[in-house]
């Protein structure tokens, strides 16, 4: 079953098209990283999912439930960490979790989730005194209440210190192992890379790519950078390499005995073979996978 499905989803605010004809399917049981620069439309899509905003055209479903027509039923299946929220300053952390439990009709001890996210010692302090990171943990605790089938998290690591971000990733992984589908947005790439099964990249309201990170790497135009050490630095080597299919460009590195090449992933062996056929002695070679950052820049036209 599909956990989230958007069909031809468009959301316009006046002349601005925040989300532009997006078709997205998130499968049950996966961790889906939703990437894109700020203002790309990630939050708008999530807001439509939560029925904070109504789509201009198109629809969103969660487990087959329309998010606008049956918004409450849809949100009963979700645990949510929304964007731009504020906690109730006068209620304590424990009261927040209690409220979430009452709202979802769940019994239990609020301290269990508070303990899990690491704000147990502040449970009886008013949430107005919490730091940004603590508030973020508290809202995560509220999202975890009732073991939801789908976790929706909008920029979950914002405001967290590195330890907090690490704990967040651990919890998301644990939740996924329990069976929950995890859908989270981020503009910070390293955080997505380590835990996502698949990623989707939003840019200017459009969903420009959806795939596993490996496959995105493979299909990216400037897939791989190759560094080749040769025994002599003859300019004709460059022509040899550039004649190979899948090569973008070749050049001599500054220290003159290394060749740099950018090419598609499949072309690596062909290059080495071509050099060998020309009688060039290849002493050593290394490849550099493009970082997610590079991919991101490529898909979003250099703006991040």
């Amino acid at each position: 079953m599909t956990a989230i499905r958007t069909e031809n989803l468009t959301k316009r605010y006046g002349a601005l098209t925040a989300v532009d004809r997006v078709d997205l399917a998130v499968e049950e049981g996966e961790i889906f990283g939703f990437l894109g620069p700020n203002g790309a439309g990630k939050s708008t899509l999530i807001n439509v999912l939560l029925d904070f905003a109504r789509p201009t055209t198109g629809s969103v479903e969660v487990f087959g439930i329309d998010c606008q027509e049956r918004s409450v039923a849809a949100r009963e299946r979700m645990g949510v960490l929304p964007e731009g929220y504020a906690v109730y300053g006068r209620l304590t952390g424990r009261q927040h979790v209690q409220f979430a439990m009452e709202s979802k009709g769940v019994d239990g001890d609020p301290m269990d989730v508070l303990d899990r996210v690491g704000v147990a010692e502040a449970a009886d302090r008013p949430a107005g005194e919490y730091s940004k990171g603590m508030a973020q943990r508290l809202v995560l605790a509220m999202a975890l209440v009732g073991e939801p089938e789908l976790l929706i998290l909008d920029e979950p690591t914002s405001g967290l210190d590195p330890n907090g971000a690490k704990r967040m990733r651990e919890i998301l992984t644990e939740e996924n192992e329990r069976g929950a589908t995890v859908f989270f947005s981020s503009h910070i790439l390293e955080q997505v890379e380590s835990i996502s099964d698949r990623v989707g990249i939003m840019h200017d309201g459009k969903l420009v790519a959806v795939d596993t990170i490996d496959k995105l790497r493979r299909t990216a135009k400037n897939g791989t950078k190759l560094l080749i050490s040769v025994d002599d630095s003859d300019d004709s080597h460059l022509e040899t390499i550039e004649a190979v299919d899948g090569v973008q460009s070749a050049w001599f590195e500054d220290d003159e005995d290394k060749l740099g090449v950018t090419c598609s992933n499949d072309a690596k062996m062909d290059i080495l073979v071509a050099l060998h056929e020309r009688g060039v002695d290849v002493l050593d070679f290394t490849t550099e996978e493009p970082s997610l950052e590079d991919l991101f820049v490529e898909y979003t036209g250099g703006r991040s």
Binding site: N47, L50, D51, F52, A53, R54, S71, V72, A73, R75, E76, M78, V80, L81, P82, E83, G84, Y85, A86, V87, Y88, R90, L91, Q95, F99, A100, E102, S103, K104, G105, V139, M142, A143
Partner: protein
């Protein structure tokens, strides 16, 4: 039920802000003080006397406190982002507005009830007399009156998107209903007279419109039910039925529901 969770949360959070605390104290104090002062003016006061004695204070204080309870309910949460947190839980917008309304009304009813109870006790002891039926009826009608202003405040709160605008609208409503409305009689008469619609006094329909304001309705109901007043343009023997106390009670009831319902209809369709 989810809306009950919201009502409970509202009550938990409500008794803490200073402005609400001050309002709660003031309302309770005023009702109690009235019960303390009435016996100094009257040797053997009754609960009925108390209802008339309190009228001026009540029609000033309850609109203020009712609006105070209502006007920030939704708009402040919307501005800060608390509403996003709340609506990311499985609450409907209807349940949200209803739960908040119930929670805030409960706080109002509690303090009005306690105030009337202690006020009545002071009236009855040692030389006055307590009429439990009057006391309960007075509580219900006065509660309804306060609720009407919570409802109006919440209507403002659901229809505006900035706290500043909501505050301005609230002052406007308070000024219009409490300060300006009682003074409208003469200008209204002059306008109708100029148009040839007044025949020596306001026509019945104009009296009806003028009498629609919650405070006017409340005054009329209290006067008729407890003051046994059966004179005047509204309650006299020649007045048409729709100016009487029972229609007034129905209209006051409508004031408690209609504003918040209209506000909800607006709120339902908007993006946060």
């Amino acid at each position: 039920m989810p809306w009950q969770a919201i009502a409970r949360k509202e009550i938990r959070g409500l008794v803490k802000p200073r402005s609400i605390k001050l309002g709660l104290f003031l309302v309770g104090f005023t009702f109690t003080m009235g019960g303390y002062l009435l016996p100094t003016a009257q040797a053997t006061p009754t609960t009925t006397d108390y209802t008339g004695y309190m009228q001026g204070a009540v029609t000033l204080l309850l609109p203020l406190f009712g609006l105070l309870l209502g006007y920030k309910t939704v708009v402040a949460e919307r501005e800060s982002g608390q509403l996003e947190l709340l609506l990311s839980l499985p609450h409907s917008r209807k349940g949200t507005v209803f739960g908040k309304f119930v929670g805030r009304t409960a706080v109002l009813a509690m303090v009005v009830g306690l105030g009337i109870l202690s006020g009545s006790a002071l009236v009855a002891y040692p030389f006055g007399s307590l009429e439990p039926g009057v006391m309960v009826g007075y509580f219900l009608i006065t509660g309804l009156y306060g609720m009407a202003f919570v409802s109006i405040g919440m209507a403002i709160s659901t229809m505006t998107t900035s706290s500043r605008l909501a505050t301005a609208a609230t002052f406007g409503i308070f000024f219009l209903f409490v300060v300006l409305w009682p003074e409208l009689e003469v200008p209204l008469f002059l306008v109708l007279d100029y148009l040839g619609l007044a025949n020596g006094g306001l026509p019945d329909w104009a009296l009806f419109v003028r009498g629609l304001e919650p405070g006017m309705l409340y005054d009329r109901i209290i006067a008729a039910f407890f003051g046994q007043v059966d004179r005047g343009r509204y309650l006299g023997p020649d007045a048409p039925w729709f100016l009487g106390e029972w229609p007034a009670l129905v209209l006051l009831g409508a004031w408690t529901i209609a504003p918040v319902a209209i506000g909800y209809r607006r709120f339902r369709g908007t993006d946060l």
